[in-house]
């Protein structure tokens, strides 16, 4: 469990990083928190010839929250985002989701942007980005930055729109709309494990506390986070009845889980329905108290 040889770069600025990445092309890999990449390299499942460590680029270690939403720089750790009161105020779903991401020691190193770029279909943050309609900002040497919407960013398991030579510099999570609530419910085999199934929910109410929109994003049940708009199933219903068998059925129908050594597809589908109900109920409740 030792990685094969690689060249190591530790740039101090984004510009420098982009130059190295441009030069390295498909041979280059960004090292952020290393919580996914280092194990892959040690198991020789990934063998990048050139590793570009961005941990010394202070300019990427940023988290800003305003009325529009939350922008998380590439070096912001899970733990920083999780603990930020400003983030929780503008978009509570981030904290709700991050509590399910691994364990504190891993959250101290792992980065939010790294998790999104890594695009694990069982990871929480890609689902958050997808549910909220967020974007990822990608930079490349000698080219303008591009802002990729979540819907176009996640292409498959561990596959994103990030091209060789590109650096993801930040991710943007839109703020919680007024009259809205969010929730993240998941079930893992052990505390902190990747989820067997998990559901993020966003519910928006009108002034009469009736549901105008309701959406969920499901993890671990498809190649990318599966976003299901259940506004129609919930239409104009009072907040207290956000969860119903019809909603659960609609969500179950949309997901495509697979069997693996931890659970059958059928069980995952069932769980997703249960969790969708739970998350919607909780989100609606928060929306009506918010």
């Amino acid at each position: 469990m030792k990685p094969p040889p690689f060249d190591y770069h530790a740039p101090r600025t984004v510009g420098e990083a982009l130059e190295v990445l441009a030069d390295a092309g498909p041979e280059g890999k960004v090292l952020a928190g290393g919580q996914s990449l280092i194990p892959l390299m040690n198991m020789r499942l990934a063998a990048p010839a050139r590793l570009v460590d961005i941990n010394r680029i202070g300019a990427l270690d940023t988290v800003t929250a305003d009325a529009r939403g939350v922008r998380v720089g590439a070096l912001a750790r899970h733990a920083t985002v999780e603990r930020s009161a400003a983030v929780a105020e503008r978009q509570p779903l981030l904290r709700q989701a991050l509590r399910h991401v691994a364990h504190p020691v891993i959250r101290n190193r792992g980065t939010v942007v790294g998790s999104i770029v890594h695009a694990d279909p069982a990871a929480e943050l890609p689902a958050v980005l997808a549910l909220l309609g967020g974007t990822v900002r990608l930079a490349r040497h000698g080219a303008p930055e591009r802002e990729v919407p979540a819907a176009e960013f996640f292409l498959g398991p561990l596959e994103s729109a990030l091209q060789p030579g590109e650096l993801a510099v930040s991710a943007f999570f839109p703020a919680l709309p007024p009259g809205s609530g969010t929730a993240f419910c998941e079930i893992a085999r052990r505390h902190g494990d990747f989820a067997l199934a998990g559901v993020a929910a966003l519910v928006t109410l009108d002034d009469d506390l009736r549901i105008t929109t309701a959406k969920v994003a499901c993890i671990g049940v498809g190649p990318v986070p599966v976003v299901v708009d259940v506004s129609a199933e919930c239409a104009r219903r009072p907040a207290a009845s956000a969860a119903s068998p019809a909603v659960a059925a609609a969500v179950r129908d949309r997901v495509e889980p697979e069997d693996d050594i931890h659970a059958t597809a059928e069980y995952r589908r069932h769980l997703t329905g249960v969790l969708a109900e739970r998350a919607l109920r909780l989100a609606a409740e928060r929306a009506s108290h918010g």
Partner: protein, 799 residues
Amino acid sequence: MTTSLFGERVQRLEDPRLLTGNGRYLDDLGRDALAAAFVRSPHAHARIREINVDRALDVPGIVAIYTWEDLPERIGEPLPLLIPHPALTHGRTARPLAKDVVRHVGEPVVMVVARDRYAAEDACDRIEVEYEPLPAVVGIENAVRGEHLVHPDVPGNVGAHLVQEVPSADGRSAAEMIEAAPHRLEFRLDIERSASMPLEGRGVYARWDPDDGSLRVYSSTQTSTSVRMAIAAKLGLPLPKVEVIAPDVGGGFGVKIMHPWPEEVLIPWAARTLGREIKWTEDRREHFISSAHERGQVQYVRVGFDDDGRILGLDVTFLHDHGAYTPYGIIVPIITSTQLLGPYKPGAYRVEFSSVYTNTVIVTPYRGAGRPQGVFCMERTMDRIAAYLGKDRTEVRAANFIQPDEFPYDHRLTFQDGRPLIYDSGNYPEALRMLKELIGWDEFAKERERAAAEGRRIGIGIGCYVEGTGVGPYEGGHVQVTSDGRVHVSTGLTSQGQGHQTAFAQIAATELGVPIERVSVVTGDTRRFGYAVGTFASRAAVMSGNAIALACRKVREKALRIAADALEADPGDLTITDGIVHVKGNPSASIPLSTVAVLANPLRYAFDEEAKRATQFATAASDDKPPVAEGEEPGLEGRDYYSPVRSTFAYGMHAAIVETDPETAEIKVLRYAVVHDCGRLINPMIVDGQIHGGVAQGIGGALYERMVYDEHGQLLNASFMDFLMPYATEVPRVETAHLETPSPLNPLGIKGAGEAGVIPVSAVIASAIEDAEGIPIMKMPISPSELFHLRRTASARVG
């Protein structure tokens, strides 16, 4: 003031060192050593066509590459079969490096030695082995079908077959008793594979001293003395020229009692051949695919019983999967077949097992060693009987208990040590009473109703076991008091974190009457003690504990004799407190043990103050006697051995309350209670710790861990990402109560405790889930996904 330290909750003396990062584990040693790595078979069963190492030769830092052809004859032979048994008619062992055929994924094929592990792995990557895949035998039932063979000369893949039969008191067979019984049941119970999975994997570090012609080997082993004998034999070295030391060992749980592992032969051999220090530290993937597993069994039960639930006849037939080879014999199924009886006395008993080959990692004892399977069998049987008769599960158990006045109790079976299975002592009804009180068994019905009213589902379960501990043949202890008053204790068996340094020091301090701070304990170092068996089978405290006590008694006797001379008193009037020998009732007439140690050696250079001071006691040497009297030895030291006629039997009873989520089928252990009797307790805190760790491991086996092989013999979950061991968050707080029924078999009255915690857990959790769900649980481990499907099947059957 030293009072008796035996039985006190003394804090572990080893912990400050271990917890501050000052432990010295295998990989902390030999910083400058070359590193070894192995090319291991990627196939479960294949013929090796060709090995081409050319591309590896130009990897920078490469030192040597060895295949089977490069090994001298004695090294290349199949490794020894450690524990032969007449029933093991087709025992087979592997060679250190495969010749011609590989029989499981992970079998070592090529050894690479390089500057460091990075270079060694780079070289491994470039070695090309051409295999011709052969059909893989995976799964017990496929193995017995015998369609394909793991070893061409082992028909039906059956390595061993054993039947033991104990007729009823009036001479009727189990089959007859079952036929004649008022009630009969028949069912199947399955347990899957898991593994010891110590935090530290295996590892070997060897250095050859060309000037001295000697070899020093460090191994992360549970038996340094036996590894030493194996190395000396394999390398053809005189035994005194081989030293083996078990440094700090980060857990063993059984997997490190197997020996010699291929690496324990190959690394020392290569170190000597190359004249270089070489180290091999196993990584986790290697551990998964090349170190031992255990537990996999399919068990069929037939039982006949009366209206009270008393078992009149019990017939168990089971299949045991021992993997690709049998270097450790058939200890595991033998233990299952004998220990499944637990605290009960069925009217008649018959047990039959077949131990079969599969193209998977070998099986050797893992903490519990066959007992968890046996207990699962027996305890599920008790629950089935209770369910059938509509009786309380504890009542059925009580009806079958061996009673306190029936000890010693002879089961008329042959135990793992080849000796009769005779229980020495115990009080099962009392343990059950205590357990029911601890968990609140009789009040649980109300609790269940309350939970149900809230829409929650809870259940309670129970499991009992008896564990033969402290198997022979022997252990020894050596105790030396030096002129600085320190007490040096050594014993040959090894430590893997159990707290031996504390428990053995407590024994020595108590026996000798010295402060515990003056006692130091060395284990598993053949330079200090050459004869030992090893640490397994819950035997260290019983075996070495008693040996050390006996050695201390020799030292004490000698000390009192010398002190009596010096003080001109009768030895019988002397006592030792706080390291000082004094006349009872006259504290002023005293002499420190340190001085006694000086007096014990006629050669008295005044190297230290103590030696100078001792001159005041020096008795005039008489001219006509030798300075060391006949039958005496210089120095204040003693050595003794403890060798029991048979094992001593500890036991315990566990109960748990679990909650199952009606929607998600998640399973949560709410409470876990243990009543435990291991005779006299040396250190209750250490015993509690052993139980807590054991229960945690048991929870792993019950709810999380399994070895998932696909039909090609690939282990699909060979990493900690997918082999789920419980975190602290999954382990309930363990409530314990102790009973102390001394063993009449040994001087200290103790029984083993190392494996206790793990043994009944799968049975207990199955019992509790079944109680919560009303669905029979016949297979362990169980996951939420499986419970979900059990529910589906059950409701389909009803609906």
